[in-house]
Amino acid sequence: MQSDIPTDLQTVWVYLSASPLLHLTMTLAAYQAGMWIYKRGGMNPLLNPVLIAVVALVTILSVTGTSYDTFFEGAQFVHFLLGPATVALAVPLYRQFHRVRESAFAIAVSLITGSAFAAASAMGIAWALGAGQTTIISIGPKSVTAPVAMGIAESLGGLPSLTAVLVIATGILGAALGPLVLNLVGVKDWASRGFAMGTAAHGIGTARALQVNEIAGAFSGLAMGLNALATAILLPLAWSIFR
């Protein structure tokens, strides 16, 4: 009868892994584990909760031989909320709007410079180090929020799913290193710190900014939205001229 136990376990596993509930729960659990480590580490930006969750999930999925498609059937319910969360950014933005209006000129100049710099530097470095053309195109919109970046990459002939990964990696890097870099170069103004995080590191940078300061969060959300707009218009235009 002992041999029934592994068989039973296997049956349970097969049953559970076919339902979206397992991978949805795994996504939430992995993120909360990441959040727990992040908070235990004094909210050190290097202990980014998204990074911890992604590493944990990739490890578990690889070990159990689960495909990404199977995982995504459960995780899509979390992924779906990205859209409504983007809409919800209107609330902190409205609350800080008097500050936004005061610095409209600074926002316009910083946005266009930051947006162009983000795309040009990433593509330039990738090209100089011998990356393939698909990779170079896919890395162009790396600082733009994922759904928009994927659309831009597709229209230029890149790989949208690769772009999604590069976008998330950029967000994690920005959220992890951004606060240290801003301290290093002496940017103390909360609005400027947030705006830089949102321009370079979209929603993950904004999530970090919101955790630290409401003004920084509002400007980060604003920068994320504006940079999506600016890159969606400027990058295809620039690419058609320079390629």
């Binding site: 996504t27 993120y31 909760p49 998204v50 990739v58 990404y68 995982f71 995504f72 995780a75 859209g83 409504p84 983007t86 809409v87 919800a88 209107a90 609330v91 902190p92 933005l93 409205y94 609350r95 610095s103 910083s110 410079t113 710099f117 530097s121 990433a122 011998g130 990779t135 890395i139 790396k142 600082s143 929020t145 994922a146 759904p147 928009v148 799913s161 690769l162 990964v165 976008v167 998330i168 967000g171 890097l173 959220a175 951004g178 870099v181 290093l184 170069v185 940017v187 103004d189 609005a191 710190r193 705006f195 830089a196 321009t199 929603g203 999530a207 919101l210 969060g217 707009l229 969606a232």
Partner: protein, 120 residues
Amino acid sequence: MLNYLTLIFACQLAGEAFVATTGIPVPGPVMGMVLLFAGLAIRGSIPKDLDTVSGALLSNLSLLFVPAGTGIMVHLKLLAGDGIAVSVALIVSTVATIAVTGLLMQALTVRKRRGQSDAE
């Protein structure tokens, strides 16, 4: 509270529909954010329950990137070929963009604020 969750979804839906019909290169959710913002500007204040719903969505914003981030497992082979180029490009470009944007924005706004306080 459910009414404001519905409102947020409706804004996104209207945004998606607007983008699909006009073909402008803006993502639907960003257009939805613009619509909700316009609504708040017309109303002149933030309803308490909307504040609660948006707060709940935004306080866990980084969780929402975990599913897409896990997609790296599909591209590990492709990334292995261009691994060094991609890593250097991502790190240098992201760090430099944050520094450039932050410094520029601070230089432009702090000077203006100082000018204002001088005038007062």
